[in-house]
């Protein structure tokens, strides 16, 4: 068996999200190759070559790949799919966008967001916002799979010394082009990998009040997240959204402030090790998943909590 893992990167640096797909691949077993498709992405390939357990890195370098356009990446992957038994990517926005297109071109049924590997052809995945787990077995010749990062540890980023090979590029499909991007800039740890997350909901009342959460997050070296309600209301950008269709997080500590705890929000954070809820409504559903619940006015409790914790 041999497995191709698609690397997540920005052409300059490898994204640690890739390391979770590598671990999933290792659980499946077989020879592990990593594909870096990008523009002037040699440094990423060199980084990928150091991941523990990787046998080979394929570098597909072309102007067509640097902006992650699905049509171009899928065309490339279909050409490279060859004898791989499995094609994996972490379920990032890119993985979710590209892999189903690859699956359809290969005429196979993708398995999305696996949370466990049972065997080379059997996987577990969450359904119904994580309220049920389905164990599914694939009869397809190539298994195309996206991996839920929070369900697998990150493989060690160093210790490996794979060879980097040039892969044949497949060119531009001519169907789409990149216009631009607006990336949210932050000095904080990344939301999906932070050890601590402080998250705000509708109870924050406006975007300005998120400063209270920023102060707490500073003290805890935490990332800041939000519920859908807060994003829809314009309090914070979409990058903050934790939930069924937003980011999936599983930090050591998740502090939910002014978040009621709708099913869809829980789907994104209920695997957190410790959950704290601060809400003035004692009947809020969030208290059913919280390890520690504080029924209080967040506008008093959060500043108090910020003073009480030391950096």
């Amino acid at each position: 068996m041999s497995i191709l893992v698609i690397a997540e990167h920005d052409n300059a640096k490898l994204n640690a999200a890739t390391l979770h797909a590598v671990t999933a691949a290792q659980k499946i077993g077989g020879e592990l190759h990593v594909l870096v498709a990008g523009t002037n992405a040699g440094a990423v390939a060199d980084e990928a070559a150091k991941i523990g357990g990787v046998a080979k890195v394929l570098l597909a370098d072309d102007a067509a790949y640097g902006n992650r356009l699905a049509e171009n990446l899928a065309k490339l992957l279909v050409g490279l799919a060859g004898n791989y038994s499995h094609i994996l990517a972490t379920a990032t926005a890119t993985g979710k966008n590209v892999l189903p297109r690859v699956a359809a071109l290969l005429d196979v049924q993708q398995i999305s967001e696996i949370s466990a590997v049972e065997s080379a052809d059997t996987f577990v995945r969450p359904i119904y916002a994580g309220n049920a787990l389905a164990t599914v077995q694939s009869s397809d010749k190539v298994k195309v799979i996206t991996v839920r990062a929070t369900s697998f540890d990150a493989a060690p980023a160093t210790g490996g010394s794979a060879a980097v090979e040039k892969a044949a590029v497949a060119g531009d499909a001519g169907l789409s082009s990149f216009v631009g991007q607006e990336l949210a800039k932050s000095e904080r740890p990344e939301l999906t990998s932070a050890r601590v997350v402080v998250s705000g909901g509708r109870g924050m009342q406006n975007g300005d009040n998120f400063k209270l959460l920023d102060a707490l997050a500073d003290k805890l070296n935490a990332a800041v997240g939000a519920s859908r309600a807060a994003v829809d209301a314009g309090f914070v950008p979409n990058t903050y959204q934790v939930g069924q269709t937003g980011k999936i997080v599983a930090p050591e500590l998740y502090i939910a402030v002014g978040i009621s705890g709708a099913i869809q929000h829980l789907a994104g954070m209920k695997d957190s090790k410790v959950i704290v809820a601060i809400n003035k409504d004692e009947d809020a559903p969030i208290f059913q998943v919280a390890d520690y619940g504080l029924v209080a006015d967040l506008f008093q409790a959060v500043p108090e909590l910020t003073s009480a914790v030391s950096k």
């Binding site: 297109r101 309220n131 049920a132």
Partner: protein, 250 residues
Amino acid sequence: MKVLVAVKRVVDYNVKVRVKADGTGVETANVKMSMNPFDEIGVEEAVRLKEAGKATEVIAVSLGAAQCQETIRTALAMGADRGIHVQTDGELQPLAVAKLLKAVVDKEQPQICILGKQAIDDDANQTGQMLAALLGSAQATFASKLVLNDNGTANVTREVDGGLETITVKLPFVLTTDLRLNEPRYASLPNIMKAKKKPIDTLTPEQLGVDIAPRLKTLKVTEPPKRQAGIKVKSVAELVDKLRNEAKVI
């Protein structure tokens, strides 16, 4: 310009599903069903294109058992012009749905296909991308803004992990909707009544020449591990103490 919208009948988003004791699936008997929320956003976007004079006809398609017709009627009540029901009682997985939709698209030739980014029952997030692949068309997924240009292209802003990105796609293409693309309208009573008279054609996978046999076998469906019940603390001081000394996370 025709716009085709796919709409799926799913367990209502407010329902907390229960896993069946025999592990074969989730309890759906007597449970409230609704149009997938992302598909409602899709219908809304299509109807707005018609209201803006950019689309001439909106076709709503649903695939599955007889009750899909209710979901199509909801789309018609929101402003879609006619419906297509691909009738089958068998299990439909995303690859099969994409193949069926391709067969419908081949007949209808819409310039834009709009699908929800994911269905809230299987959470697969695949069908739109697969349809685009089978059609050899561009795909614009997780869309939060759609702007049609005058030159046979469209600019789509997408919600991605780091923020927003904008791409230009050639028509015909497939769009999948994200939460902030629009706020769907409630169908008014007069429109619900009007919808009863709009036509719905029924087709079968056999008529469309598509093999819908599932590729994934579900071996079992189980509940996720339960969290231990938590406690309420009475003060911030107590919370800090617990986090520091009991949970040891700070």
